[in-house]
Symmetry: C2
Subunit: 188 residues, 2 copies
DNA sequence: GATCTAAAAGCAAATTATTTGCTTTAGCGT
DNA sequence: ACGCTAAAGCAAATAATTTGCTTTTAGATC
């Protein structure tokens, strides 16, 4: 029910969390998500089901917890020399990752858990903001014009995500390019 | 597992569906969603649990099915005399409804079920498109300039929905107004 | 370094939800 | 009216979840 923050690293809690997360990742990669159950995860993680129930409450919370971890970017956006190309490359990768089967599943997991713990979706949004922020700061350092981060969210990130979540047709490379064009209109 | 389309109206199936839906709506209005279970719904609907399991598969699918119904607009957008005001009023109402507690819960229900039946999210998106389409056609009939529907989705609907789903701060009236301004720049 | 403590994990019994095979019912076409 | 089929009911079997209690363990204190 309550996913604790601030687990001291190296303690027993941390070990349990790590093995449970790993078990979840392993199972999700092997089998259909609808066949993944808490008793199964517990067995694979070498832990009692009640431990998982007490720590996470239910499967959705646990999946959300794992998904948030996996949605955290592992590196800042690549520096390609200009804001336009930085943003284009970042957005294309973002769209691809999120539109992929596992990407969509992770987003759904994160959103499903919001009822109980609304921090999850906010975290994802935060990761995205940070990435855009990095591109924005680089642009500023180069002396380029660049819209503020919220504008980028509205005009680029939001349409990508909306299409992925609600539309049958996830945004392809052309679509992403068109969105970036609208956002950074003047070609030098 | 499979939610059937084309249930002949007036048949037994239709009656069961209606009483189950009504039971769900009733329970959701009374109690916390995490306390709503299939056996409970079944009892309230005067139906066996196994009927629900066989027709809907699980609670998420059933909740999604009910949510899609409730997200269907019951009337076309009001005709206020101009595209700008039509769109503004429609968008403000849309944002309010979706950002409300029940609205967010319904969106989440719909999105959670996508794994098994991806038609649900598409339907919602479809309803929105239809509403915007109506506004667009009225604008055309009046001889007003109006962007195409996909542009409205990208620049207005998507940011609203993104903020609702991922951000802590759902879009207020000012924010919606600003988005409409960006979409229909010239005041006239 | 031994001891105490509190938080978290294990265990197992009780409860509750889900699945399933089989039977019954109701609506539809003839 | 009669039969056929799809869906509903029923109940037993299985599986998941909750819960009270016990045990373990990491960290704090002496």
């Amino acid at each position: 029910m309550n996913i604790r923050e601030n687990i001291r690293p190296g303690g027993r809690s941390a070990r349990v969390q790590a093995s449970v997360h790993e078990a979840v990742r392993g199972l999700l990669s092997t089998m259909d998500r609808s066949d993944v159950t808490i008793p199964l995860i517990a067995a694979k993680a070498g832990v009692t089901p009640s431990t998982i129930y007490r720590r996470w409450g239910d499967l959705q919370e646990l999946l959300a917890d794992v998904a948030v971890e996996r949605l955290r970017p592992d590196a800042p956006p690549k520096d390609t020399g200009s804001a336009r190309t930085d943003l284009t490359q970042w957005a294309e990768q973002y769209a691809d990752e999120m539109a992929s089967g596992p990407g969509r599943a992770m987003i759904r997991d994160v959103l499903s858990s919001v009822a109980i713990d609304s921090r999850n979706a906010g975290k994802c949004c935060g990761y995205t903001r940070e990435q855009v922020q990095v591109i924005a700061e680089r642009a500023r350092d180069r002396g380029e014009d660049f819209p503020n981060v919220e504008t980028v969210i509205d005009k680029l990130v939001a349409p990508i995500m909306y299409r992925i979540l609600f539309d049958d047709v996830p945004p392809n490379s052309e679509k992403v390019l068109a969105l970036v064009e609208r956002l950074l209109p003047q070609q030098r």
